[in-house]
Structures are given as C-alpha cells and as structure tokens.
C-alpha cells in the first residue's frame, strides 16, 4: 500500500508563513513519525518532538537524518504534563493534535 502525503508540500509553505523558525527553539506536540519535523527542523536552533505513541517515536528516531541528530530530540510525553522548564520554547506547534 503506497500513499503520498502532501507531495505539493503545501503544509510546510503555510507553516513557514506562520512563523520564522530560524534560530528558534521549537516544541512539536504530536510529532508522530517526524513527517512534518524534517521539513522545518534545519532552520531551527533546537526541536523537541513529543507524542504519546511510542511506535511512531521509534520510527521518528530511526528516520532522523544524521545532520539533525544533535538538534532534534523526541520524547514520549503528553501535553498536559510536559517535562520541560518554564519558558523553554519560542514556538510550539500543535501538530494534528487534540
């Protein structure tokens, strides 16, 4: 079963219009397998992706490009009790969440 998701890359165009990620600390809530993460992470200073689904996080970790290993981290956490200090991020993305 093959599926192409957003081959037009419309999502990242609108995401980039919404905020400048350059040098920013980004929290992505509902990062899943990292599909969206890889599309903006290079310009960010640091990206933390959280999700409740361990299988998706494993895929994200495996798929993480080598040049993003130091910049992008994943954690299994929910959005109600996040294991982060106050004022740790410049941008938060609620990615297909709720």
């Amino acid at each position: 079963m093959s599926v192409q998701i957003d081959p037009e890359r419309t999502e990242i165009k609108y995401l980039r219009r919404s905020a400048d990620f350059t040098g920013r600390r980004v929290l992505e809530i509902g990062c899943g397998d990292g599909r969206l993460t890889w599309r903006y992470a290079k310009s960010a200073k640091r990206v933390t992706g959280i999700d409740l689904l361990g299988d998706d996080l494993r895929v994200a970790t495996i798929d993480r490009p080598s040049d993003l290993e130091q910049k992008v981290r994943f954690a299994r956490a929910d959005s109600i009790h996040m294991p982060f200090a106050k004022e740790s991020f410049d941008i938060a993305i609620l990615a297909w969440s709720f």
């Binding site: 905020a19 996040m82 993305i93």
Partner: protein, 142 residues
C-alpha cells in the same frame, strides 16, 4: 484541552508563538487526479465523534483567548492531499487508519473505481483535506 493549552503557555517564552495546525472535517472531497484534470467523485461522510472533537478544540482555543492567555493573530485554511495509485489502496488505507474519522459510502467507491478505470493511465485517486492553521501569541504577563 484547556489544561494542555495552559501547559503550552507555561513552556513558551513571553511573546512566544503557538501554531495550531489540524485538519477540519468538512465532507472532504474524493477525487480522481491526472495531469489533464481533477474530477470530484463525491464527498466523505463526517463521523459524529471527531466532529465533536473539532468543536471542543475550537471551544478550548476560544476559552484560552477569553482568559487572556493567548491572542489569536492569524488563521488560514488550505487544501492538503493524500494520493494513492488505485482506489483499492485508498480504501485499504482509509479503512485501516481513518475508520473512526470519516466514512465513504459503498456507492462512492464504485463511482470512484469506474471513473479511475476510464481516466488517463497516470490517474491517481486522492482525498482533499481541509487544513486549518492558526497562530497564537503568548500574552506578555505573569
């Protein structure tokens, strides 16, 4: 949901940005797409529970705004496509992953298969999601 938004507000710096990016149910069109043209065959049926989830999310964002935690700056909608080579692949995917979100009537599958079978050789099938992207800024007080 409001608890989650308050937690997001906690971890954002003053003036930080929350981007709320999510699909919104709206009887998403099912289409046959080829280089020559795109043809809508019908529309998916929205299921009640995710529709209620959409409404709850909207209410949570509105409540957050009323509390003065976050201020809405910008909102847009845009199309977002999933493509498959065949109607069968599309049906398998949707049955496996979205059976609790939308329903495609049997008659629509038949019409999609017929139209796809008679379309150009490069024709794909796709679903057009309605995506919403809204930008909120953390209010600078504590």
């Amino acid at each position: 949901m409001v608890h989650a938004l308050n937690e997001i507000r906690r971890v954002l710096v003053a003036g930080g940005i929350l981007i709320d990016l999510r699909p919104v149910l709206d009887k998403w069109p099912i289409e046959v797409a080829s280089k020559g043209e795109n043809r809508e065959v019908g529309r998916a049926t929205d299921l009640p529970e995710p529709l209620a989830d959409d409404e709850a999310a909207n209410q949570a964002m509105a409540e957050t705004s009323q509390k003065g935690w976050l201020l809405r700056e910008h909102e847009q909608v845009f199309p977002f496509f999933y493509y498959w080579d065949t109607p069968k692949e599309m049906q398998e995917y949707l049955d496996e992953t979205w059976d609790d979100v939308i329903r495609i009537e049997e008659d629509l599958w038949h019409r999609l298969s017929s139209l796809w079978a008679t379309a150009d050789a490069d024709a794909l099938v796709r679903i057009r999601l309605k995506m919403s992207i809204a930008t909120w800024r953390k209010v600078n007080f504590d």
